[in-house]
């Protein structure tokens, strides 16, 4: 049913996957997956709001596929994301770019970092506008053992002055 809801609706959805770490006051921070899409910035915005509310560290992570020249832009997106965090007065925020195919690399990163929550856009920079859920969100919701926030809301960092 979770997958059917995600495919048929466009509302922010938090899927509880980690029964041992449900409360936001528990262990682990928040991983925000960034690919430069408006929904990945929407995921970041919610990660920052949750971070402020609960004192959670936010780790912004972008995955760069060496075979995709356009992924060189991710360094710039990371700078923009950190600027968004600074403008919003977020607390502890860090960012990194990792190598690999995003759905796989981010899933592995999340598994290693053991966050309370991973925030990811419902679809990504390669979305073709058919309303389908993106491959990174799909992978994380299916395979991660951590709680996953699938963000449908969008944020344009330019409009924020970042």
């Amino acid at each position: 049913m979770v997958e059917r809801l995600l495919r048929r609706t466009t509302v922010d959805t938090l899927v509880v996957r980690d029964l041992a770490n449900v409360a936001p006051t528990g262990a682990g921070g928040i991983v925000a997956c960034l690919d430069g899409s408006a929904r990945s910035y929407g995921a970041l915005a919610q990660a920052l709001d949750l971070s402020r509310a609960y004192g959670k560290h936010v780790q912004i992570v972008a995955a760069r596929d060496p075979g995709r020249p356009e992924d060189a832009l991710l360094d710039r997106h990371l700078e923009v994301a950190l600027a968004v965090a600074a403008r919003r007065g977020a607390g502890s925020v860090d960012g990194t770019v990792i190598d690999g195919y995003a759905p796989v690399a981010l899933n592995e990163y999340v598994a290693r970092s053991k966050p309370w929550l991973v925030a990811v856009g419902r679809d990504g920079i390669d979305a073709v506008g058919d309303g389908e859920i993106g491959s990174t969100a799909e992978r994380l919701v299916r395979e991660s053992t951590h709680n996953v926030l699938v963000a449908a809301r969008q944020l344009n960092p330019v409009e924020e002055g970042a």
Binding site: M1, V2, L5, V11, V16, V22, P24
Partner: protein, 143 residues
């Protein structure tokens, strides 16, 4: 940040964990939580009618069939409503203890269809739900 948090429940372990988190978020952000459950009384009704041809002859007279259908419908619908209410009662107690406003919603139908329709007809800021429900099998990854 969040003003209305939608919480589909089925009394599974994951659903109960989702309820815990939804109430905590509701308390933190001053949001209303909308607890929702879908039961399938009409589906039982359809299944009963599909199996009527297997009944003994004395029960297959139209008048007797109508009587049996009414009894079956009343028992199933009322029973499922009571079970559904008990699911929401649990959430209600948790919300009340946290000082969070809870709205209750019950639907009769196919679960994801009713939930999607309700989400489309409403303006929830966030849906919180468990990864696996009552129907999960041992190797299930996602409900």
């Amino acid at each position: 940040m969040y003003q209305s948090i939608y919480l589909p429940v089925d009394n599974s372990d994951y659903s109960n964990a989702a309820a815990e988190l939804a109430v905590l978020l509701g308390k933190q952000f001053g949001a209303k939580v909308i607890g929702s459950h879908v039961y399938a009384a009409k589906l039982h009704d359809v299944r009963f009618k599909q199996m009527e041809f297997t009944l003994p002859d004395e029960y297959r007279e139209e008048e007797e069939l109508e009587k049996q259908r009414r009894i079956h419908d009343a028992l199933i619908a009322r029973g499922l409503q009571l079970i559904s209410d008990s699911y929401l009662d649990t959430i209600s107690k948790r919300a009340e203890a946290a000082g969070v406003t809870l709205e209750r919603k019950l639907f009769d139908g196919k679960n994801f269809v009713a939930l999607v329709d309700d989400i489309h007809a409403s303006s929830y800021d966030l849906v919180v739900l468990g990864a696996l429900g009552q129907g999960a099998l041992r190797d299930s990854q996602l409900g």
